[in-house]
Structures are given as structure tokens and as C-alpha cells.
């Protein structure tokens, strides 16, 4: 089972520019979470802070009792072995073939025999659909292939926590859909805690158990997916609908005058009722996602605090699949 990640009061600035402040959330163990946000809101910075590559000025990130911000470097290095991080452009080693890239963590951290390494690596290469390309250098393959190779490398040590930085960027819609399914299947198989940073609405609507959104230097909200998908908060509603009308402008935020003018013209009205798309299920033949079962109990406990719309959406999502299992 995956590991819970507790983020507590995190604040990060570069020089005098504040990226986000006081971000607190808990990634429940084994569940899939998505962090949304317009471009440039520091989603990648958030990911790198969780894994300890960047050091926020305030706050803590607790994983198994290790604070990834302030603990000694040795403990952080040790804890990082629990992670798999998929970089935005793969971040493969340019001088090594794909096979060596994917074998790198195994060779560094385990004493496995070369035949054993070969078996594991080829298995992962097969999962991400790169069989036949293992001898190529990263410079010789397309961006989408590099991304998938990056994912294979992140998976090779059987991580407890998987972080994905924009898994969809540079992929076509079909590959994105396959990747979404792959992530859910992985979660069903290894039950790892996953955090996906993206601004792809399809992934956001179908993959996660939980969703959060960063906007304007703050964590707008974080909670079960239904809460965001039915949210009436203008920023969230605008983002999930992909509309121009709302607080998000071309630059990070709109100025008050434009926003006021929009409201006078009634631009924000055309929202309509929002439907919640059902979450992806693991492919046939995969084990049952333990995280989904755990989440059901967790959400049932907090049902009272959720908004009405989210409650109905959650209840609706239970009816078709599980007969009689309603809380």
C-alpha cells in the first residue's frame, strides 16, 4: 500500500516573487490525486518541493516521518528511493540508451544480476509500449516516447509514491487516453500514492480520486474529485469548463475592471448544469483498486461536510457499479 504524503503550510518564493503560500493538503495513501492550475502557477515547483529538489521557505512535507524540506540530506536521499518521478520531458540521460536509462535505478540501488535487471526492464518497457526501441538514444525518439520511457524509469523500483509532471503534454489525445488508463491500471496493480500535475481536462475528469487546484499563489481547494467537478467557485468552474469568462486571464489573473465589465455583459452565465464523468475503472483482468475501496470509507466519513452538489454526485457514482454497497 502506498504512503500518505502530508503537506503542511508550504510557502515558496523565488527571490521576491512568491510562487504559492501556505499550501496544506494530504495525499491519501494509495489514491490518485490531480493538481490542476493554469500555466505558470507553480505546479511543477510544487512537485519538486514534495520530492525535496526545491526547498520551500516555510512548511513541511511529511513522508514516513521524514520532512522532505528540513530533514538531513541523507534521510531525504533515502526517502527518495520510495518515489518515482516522471519529468515533463522525460529527463532521460542523453548519453545512455533507453534500456540503460531504465536500468539505471536498478543498477544504482540494487544488487540484482544483469539477467534479472534485463527481465524487469523489458517488462516495464512493454508496459509503456516501447518494445523494440530499447536500444535507441533519447535523442533519436519522439517526445511522446521519451515521456513514456521516463515513466518506465520512474516505475522500475516499484515506487510507493508516483509523481507525474504533465503526463499529457506533447501526447496526442489517443495516447493521453491510453496513458490515463495506464496510470489507473498501475494504481490497481501496485497501489501507489499518485500525484499528477496537469492542465488536461480529460485526465482531470476521469483519472483522479482527489483533485486540487492552484491559482493566484494559493491552493484554491483540495478534496474528493466530485467536490471540484461540481464546484461553483468561479476559478474552478472557469478552468474546468475551459471558458474565457472568469477570474483567470491570459496573464495569471485578470484585473478587476475587465472582470467587472464581463459581469455587466453577463458573460459568465452560460455555464449550464455540470455533469460528473464517471472515473476510469482498471482494465479487465486487473485487480480491484484497493484505493477506491478505502476512499469510499474515507469519503463516507466526511460526507456531512461536503457541499450538496458533491454529495449527490458521489452517491450517483456509487449506484451503477456497486449494487447495495451504498453507505
Amino acid at each position: 500500500m502506498g504512503i500518505e504524503v502530508v503537506v503542511d503550510g508550504l510557502t515558496k518564493s523565488f527571490g521576491r516573487q512568491n510562487i504559492w503560500q501556505n499550501v496544506s493538503l494530504t495525499l491519501p495513501a494509495g489514491e490518485v490525486s490531480v493538481m490542476l492550475g493554469p500555466s505558470g502557477t507553480g505546479k511543477t515547483v510544487f512537485l519538486k518541493s514534495i520530492i525535496g529538489l526545491l526547498k520551500p521557505e516555510q512548511g513541511r512535507v511529511l513522508i514516513n516521518g521524514v520532512d522532505m524540506v528540513n530533514s538531513p540530506e541523507r534521510e531525504i536521499m533515502e526517502t527518495r528511493k520510495l518515489f518515482g518521478l516522471m519529468f515533463q520531458d522525460g529527463a532521460l540521460f542523453g548519453s545512455m540508451s533507453l534500456f540503460d536509462n531504465i536500468a539505471f535505478p536498478l543498477r544504482e540501488h540494487t544488487r540484482k544480476k544483469e539477467s534479472e535487471i534485463r527481465r524487469i526492464v523489458m517488462e516495464r518497457i512493454d508496459i509503456v509500449g516501447l518494445l523494440g526501441a530499447e536500444g535507441k538514444l533519447p535523442g533519436e525518439i519522439s517526445g511522446g516516447m521519451r515521456k513514456r520511457a521516463g515513466l518506465a524509469r520512474a516505475l522500475v523500483l516499484d515506487p510507493q509514491i508516483i509523481l507525474c509532471d504533465e503526463p499529457d503534454s506533447g501526447l496526442d489525445p489517443v495516447r493521453t487516453a491510453y496513458l490515463s488508463q495506464l496510470l489507473i491500471d498501475l494504481n490497481a496493480q501496485i497501489d501507489a500514492t499518485m500525484l499528477i500535475v496537469t492542465h488536461n481536462l480529460d485526465i482531470a475528469a476521469t483519472v483522479p480520486d482527489n483533485m486540487g487546484m492552484l491559482f493566484c499563489r494559493n491552493l484554491v481547494t483540495f478534496g474528493p474529485r466530485e467536490v471540484l467537478l461540481t464546484s461553483e467557485v468561479p476559478v474552478v468552474a472557469q478552468f474546468l469548463a475551459g471558458r474565457r469568462e472568469g477570474p483567470i486571464g491570459m496573464s495569471e489573473e485578470k484585473d478587476a475592471a475587465t472582470l467587472a465589465a464581463e459581469q455587466v455583459n453577463g458573460g459568465g452565465a452560460g455555464a449550464g448544469p455540470r455533469t460528473v464523468v464517471p472515473q476510469l475503472e482498471p482494465s479487465p483482468g486487473m485487480p480491484v483498486r484497493q484505493a477506491a475501496l478505502r476512499r469510499r470509507e474515507r469519503v463516507a466519513a466526511m460526507m456531512g461536510q461536503l457541499p450538496q452538489a458533491a454529495r449527490t454526485a458521489i452517491l450517483n457514482s456509487y449506484t451503477p457499479t456497486a449494487g447495495g454497497a451504498r453507505p
Binding site: 519529468f87 529527463a91 542523453g94 540501488h109 494559493n218 466526511m302
Partner: protein, 281 residues
């Protein structure tokens, strides 16, 4: 779980708040000190990581071979004329002073103690250090080093330590080569071109030179190799923004190494002359 979110977070106002005037001059004055401090931190980290298992033997051998292969030929080719120049210069000077018989000792000492370690260091910094810096720098901007760190592998231990050890070992070995070739060059020019006598040349050599001269020469080469490796790694690990930043970093690493070399050489020479008595005194 869901914090009631403000529609518009209250704190940041639209547009940019003018930055309050800050004593920027103080931080700018301190910037070189901060860089120096970071350089020493890296040097300390590398020294510590040298003794940490597992040792990256393969990487070390590859780097050693690479640095040796790009420096051996230029070093030999540079050291012949360098030894010759010193021999000619010293030869004509001692002739004016009427001390031709000491030409051999003087020119050999100059070659072994000063010229040879410096030639080695300049070549290693110029040929090996620039390659190390460019390599690490481009890995850094392509996020390869981040990826390595994320996988729980320290880039200092995995990449920097083998490179620094390689520059040190190549420097020591190359210093031997340059000393021999330079001395032979000096001998050739002095004996053949300036009609010096071979016997006097060799006799003055053993009269003036002593074994510690060779030790300090090798010690200098070791230190210079360390400096070249550390500075190249430091600039490579901290390039400023994009491919051009890597180019600048390479440039700076060579310049910084050169300046450090000559300064450290002065200090080492001064200390050596103080603590090791000259032969015969």
C-alpha cells in the same frame, strides 16, 4: 477538507506592487564571497564523498582516459619549447653573469618546480575542465541531474567525485611526463644550441636540485588538478539559464581556474621556500 476559497485571493493586488528599495549594493558586494563559500562547500562535499561507498570505478576510468587522451599530446608538445625557452633564457643570463656551469640546475629547477605543474594545470583546466563543465552544465539544464537526485543518487558522488579524482591523477602523472620532456628539451637546447657542456649541465643539476623539488612539483600538480576539477564541476553544476549559460559557465570555469592556479602556486612556492632549505645551505 475544502477551505472556503476566496474568489480572488486578497493579498496580491492586480499589477505589480513596486518593490521597496532594498540595499542591493550590500548583497552585490557579498556575492563573490557567497560564490566562494559555495565553491568551498562543494570542495568539502567532494572530499567527504570520495570516501563513501560505492566508488564509481567505471566512471572514473572513463573520465581518466578521456582527460589523459586530450592532454597528453598537447602537454608534450608544449613542454619542449617551454623547456627550451627557459634553457635559452637562463643560459644567456648565466653567461652574462659568468655562471654558465649552473645553467643546468637553474633551468631544470625552473622547469620542474614552476613550469611543469602550471603547464599541466593549464592544459587540464583548458582541455579537461572545460569538457567537464560543459558536460555537467548541459546535464543540469536538461534536468538530468535533477532526475538523478530524484532517484536517490547523489550527482556529487556519482559524477563529480570520479571527475575530480581523474583530474588529480592525470595531473600527477602528466606532471612527470612534462618534467621529463621539458628537462630533455632544455638539455638539448643548452647543450646543442648554446654549446653548453653535458657534464657541467648534469653536475650543476645534482649540485642544486634535490628530491623535495620533485615532491613539491607533484604536490602542486595534485592540488592544481583538484582545483581544476572542483571549479569545473562547480560552474557546471550551477549554470545560469539555458544553453548560453552553459557556454558562459565553461568560459568562467577556465578563467577562474587560471586565476586560482597562479595564486595558489604563489602561496605554495612561498611556503616551500620557507620550510625546505635550499640544497647546500
Amino acid at each position: 477538507m475544502t477551505v472556503p476559497p476566496p474568489v480572488r485571493p486578497p493579498e496580491p493586488s492586480p499589477g505589480h506592487v513596486p518593490d521597496p528599495p532594498r540595499p542591493a549594493s550590500a548583497s552585490r558586494l557579498l556575492a563573490p564571497l557567497r560564490e566562494t563559500g559555495k565553491l568551498f562547500v562543494l570542495a568539502a562535499a567532494v572530499t567527504r564523498a570520495i570516501f563513501r561507498r560505492p566508488f564509481q570505478l567505471r566512471e572514473f576510468i572513463e573520465q581518466f582516459w578521456f582527460i589523459a587522451s586530450v592532454t597528453i599530446l598537447p602537454a608534450a608538445l608544449v613542454s619542449i619549447p617551454f623547456g627550451a625557452v627557459i634553457a635559452l633564457q637562463v643560459g644567456s643570463l648565466t653567461e652574462q653573469l659568468g655562471a654558465q656551469s649552473f645553467t643546468g640546475g637553474a633551468s631544470v629547477l625552473a622547469v620542474i618546480q614552476q613550469a611543469s605543474p602550471l603547464i599541466v594545470a593549464l592544459l587540464i583546466a583548458g582541455a579537461g575542465g572545460s569538457a567537464i563543465c560543459a558536460d555537467l552544465g548541459s546535464r543540469k539544464i536538461r534536468e538530468e541531474l535533477d532526475a538523478m537526485e530524484v532517484m536517490g543518487v547523489s550527482p556529487v558522488q556519482r559524477l563529480v567525485v570520479p571527475r575530480v579524482l581523474a583530474t588529480m591523477l592525470v595531473a600527477v602523472l602528466l606532471n612527470g611526463l612534462v618534467s621529463v620532456v621539458g628537462t630533455l628539451g632544455g638539455y638539448f637546447f643548452n647543450v646543442i644550441m648554446q654549446d653548453g657542456t653535458p657534464g657541467a649541465y648534469l653536475a650543476s643539476f645534482s649540485a642544486l636540485a634535490q628530491l623535495p623539488d620533485l615532491y613539491i612539483s607533484e604536490f602542486k600538480a595534485l592540488i592544481f588538478g583538484f582545483i581544476a576539477g572542483i571549479v569545473a564541476a562547480y560552474r557546471g553544476l550551477n549554470p545560469r539559464g539555458g544553453p548560453k549559460g552553459v557556454g558562459d559557465a565553461v568560459n568562467q570555469s577556465v578563467v577562474i581556474t587560471f586565476m586560482l592556479l597562479f595564486f595558489v602556486n604563489m602561496v605554495l612556492t612561498a611556503i616551500y621556500l620557507q620550510i625546505v632549505p635550499a640544497k647546500g645551505s
